[in-house]
């Protein structure tokens, strides 16, 4: 906290004194408004794109028949009570937790493994460049392409089942079987997202001084000990930042689910995002949808607070 206070102190100190000290040229009114002109665009941008929508949605969550009716009715916390007593919402929350935690964990492990492989001194420069390009490919596709691609691959008559038919198992309904669907969409999300981790971790790895490994070697550390005592501690800030960001992003994934399963079969892949979308755009219950959105906002805020704290601690 002291760091924050100090930084605030530094930032605020020159503001009142600054213009007075300069004291020459221009009318005093212009000089006084100058700082506001600098911050103006950002303040307006944040206000228009962030504060107003968030406040509006919070307001909507307290009313019934918002948007669809010119005179919405104030219902207080009724939507919150209804949402928290809806079993469908808990299914969505459970699915979202599974989807998010498994995705982030797998992103981290796969990203780290690939980054370590690409950073290995045993691999030549050209080979590294080629593999780096290949490994990063999934990240370059937009969600729509990823969804269509995997729908085709995992179609019951698709490539995956064709290849599996050689080992005697070729009739799996990857996305349509309620017991497999959530695992399948999680797998697709893992595939699409690990390069983000890989690239960041690779940058982190390249920043670790070779002297540290050298010293560890001299001290007799084996490969595993060097990994746990040198690599991981040095990567920790990157890992924590990436994981928190990924948790926030993955928990809000909508397009991939919507375009592959639509939240089905039944409710097997219903996430909080698809649940909210359906409330808004097929039930036209914008008040209830806003309530679900506010709950997601609060959950995301908790993660965001951790992220910001971590970033500050780093500074």
């Amino acid at each position: 906290m002291s760091t924050v206070a100090e930084r605030r102190g530094r930032a605020e100190a020159p503001a009142p004194g600054g213009p007075r000290r300069r004291g020459q040229g221009g009318a005093p009114g212009v000089r006084r408004s100058e700082p506001f002109l600098y911050v103006g665009p950002t303040v307006i941008l944040i206000g228009v794109l962030l504060v107003i929508p968030v406040v509006t949605v919070i307001g909507y969550s307290l009313f019934d028949n918002v948007i669809t009716n010119p005179n919405p009715e104030f219902v207080g916390l009724a939507h919150y009570a209804a949402l928290l007593s809806d079993t469908g919402f808990y299914t969505a929350v459970g699915n979202t937790l599974f989807f998010t935690i498994v995705s982030v964990a797998a992103h981290l492990v796969i990203g780290l493994v690939f980054a370590l492989m690409l950073n290995s001194p045993l691999v030549g420069r050209t080979t590294t460049a080629v593999y780096r390009t290949i490994y990063v490919l999934p990240w370059l596709f937009t969600v729509a392409i990823v969804a269509v691609l995997w729908r085709l691959l995992l179609n019951p008559n698709g490539v995956v089942n064709y290849l599996l038919s050689f080992v005697g198992s070729g009739s799996t309904e990857w996305l349509s079987d309620p017991s497999l669907a959530l695992g399948t969409v999680t797998f697709i999300n893992i595939w699409a997202g690990y390069p983000f981790f890989m690239v960041s971790l690779l940058a982190g790895l390249q920043g670790i001084s070779a002297d540290l490994y050298e010293t560890a070697r001299v001290d007799g550390a084996n490969a595993w000990q060097r990994f746990t005592a040198v690599t991981l501690p040095n990567l920790k800030p990157v890992i924590i930042s990436m994981s928190l960001l990924d948790l926030i992003w993955t928990s809000q994934q909508f397009a991939l689910i919507w375009m592959t399963t639509g939240g089905g079969p039944v409710d097997a892949t219903e996430l909080v995002s698809t649940y909210t979308y359906k409330l808004a755009f097929t039930k036209y219950e914008f008040g209830a949808a806003s309530t679900a959105a506010v709950v997601v906002l609060v959950l995301s805020m908790i993660l965001a607070v951790f992220y910001v704290r971590h970033q500050r601690a780093k500074e």
Binding site: P156, S176, W258, G264, P265, K278
Partner: protein
């Protein structure tokens, strides 16, 4: 230095001002530089028609109506719907809108689309030529411009190979044919697109079978899902599903996927929109297939309801140019323009006097026209509140039932209960 700071501060101020202006701006611009009134027509039709054809039709309108220009706002079906939902919410709905029957109730109740009955009366319009009108509380809010019927498509080669010499016309014949095709081993008997992303499979491929046998899922405008006709229809599908005659992946299959499977000869029979006829022919010119009426319950000899989907027309309540919007509406529903629209869409016209050109030179379309005329257009979801959500609720229960988690009776009772809450 001071000069530089002033410039930067000035630029910041301009940026701030422009941000505010873009925030406040938006609509407007409905009269162009030449003094023409510009109206907007939002629809999902243009992307589904051959390039430039809809624009060509609109150009004809502009020629006939100097002083009016029409801007086409075209997008896929789902994004058009979202655009209209948000437009309805913010009061910025385009002047003339393409509508699906399942959206009408919600937009009408919301006051987003205008009462066409009132407009017709105001302009002394003769509505006797309109094939159908979609009403809410006794007033018309949508007029179908063209109708796409959903007949039964059958793959001739697969049927012949399975020893079936003509398309099935009863449920038993259909079930037998589906089993026989599935037993061949290289294709599925039929397909059922139940994706929850667009839950219309429940309407077009499930409940349509009920309407084909003269049944109804409503009673006095309220849900009546536990009647014998509905129970028989759902039990019929359950039996077929347990027999494994549906192409795999039904729970996430979209209508488009089903059409591809049929086009590639991996599905023997499907209930699908006539709108896909051209695409199937172009994708697989060698495929020989027939079109026939939906099979009905054994022994049923009454008129068969033909499921249909519409490209409907409505006018925004918030439109500042209702007179011009009405002219466009009138033009699109006129005998000649409506026939043109129907011809390019390969659909049946919403004006009973229009004759699309394909009826004369396309054998399959002529066949479909006969089916259309022999039956009656039936789609009970049209005009219902939150129609798409009703389909989704039923779809989820239907999937649970097919999975064996609940019985047919439980499925229908649960759906009846959740539907009743929406009415």
């Amino acid at each position: 230095m001071t000069q530089k700071r002033k410039i930067i501060a000035g630029m910041s101020a301009m940026a701030a001002a422009s941000l505010v202006l873009t925030g406040c701006g938006g609509s407007g611009g409905d009269v162009d530089a030449d003094g023409n009134v510009v109206i907007e027509l939002a629809q999902w039709w243009e992307p589904e028609l051959p390039d430039g054809e809809l624009r060509g039709l609109i150009d004809e309108f502009e020629e006939q109506n100097p002083g009016i220009k029409v801007e086409l706002l075209s997008g896929p079906y789902a994004s058009t719907r979202e655009q209209l939902v948000t437009g309805a919410a913010s009061g910025t709905m385009p002047d003339v809108v393409g509508l699906d029957g399942s959206w009408v109730n919600d937009f009408a109740k919301q006051g987003a689309i205008t009462d066409l009955s009132a407009l017709m009366a105001e302009h002394d319009y003769d509505d006797s030529t309109l094939a159908s009108q979609v009403e809410v509380d006794g007033s018309t809010y949508m007029v179908p411009a063209v109708n796409f019927v959903y007949p039964l498509y059958t793959n001739d080669a697969l049927l012949a190979e399975a020893g079936v010499d003509q398309p099935p016309s009863s449920r038993t014949e259909f079930a037998d044919a589906a089993r026989a095709i599935t037993e061949l081993g290289n294709a599925a008997g039929t397909a059922m697109p139940l994706s929850l992303e667009t839950p219309s499979g429940v309407q077009n491929q499930v409940m349509s079978w009920l309407w084909a046998s003269g049944g109804s899922m409503l009673k006095d405008g309220k849900p009546d899902l536990t009647n014998e006709g509905v129970v028989d229809t759902i039990e019929y599908f359950d039996e077929l599903y347990q027999d494994g005659v549906f192409a795999p992946g039904a729970f996430t299959m979209k209508e488009q996927d089903m059409v591809e499977e049929f086009t590639n000869g991996r599905v023997g029979m499907m209930v699908d929109s006539l709108a896909h006829l051209t695409m199937i022919r172009e994708s697989n010119p060698d495929l020989e297939f027939s079109i026939s009426a939906l099979p009905a319950e054994d022994g049923y000899d009454g008129k068969r309801g033909i499921p249909y989907a519409s490209w409907g027309l409505g006018i925004a309540e918030s439109s500042e140019h209702k007179a011009e919007a009405w002219k466009l509406f009138e033009f699109l529903m006129s005998e000649e323009a409506n026939a043109e629209l129907a011809s390019m869409a390969k659909a049946f016209p919403g004006n009973t006097e229009s004759v699309p050109d394909f009826v004369e030179d396309d054998e399959l379309m002529a066949e479909a026209f006969d089916i259309y005329q022999a039956g009656y257009p039936a789609n009970e979801f049209t005009g219902l509140p939150v129609a798409e959500d009703l389909m989704r609720q039923m779809n989820e229960q239907f999937q649970s039932m097919l999975e064996g988690d609940i019985s047919v009776d439980e499925m229908l009772e649960t759906t009846q209960e959740s539907w009743s809450a929406e009415f």
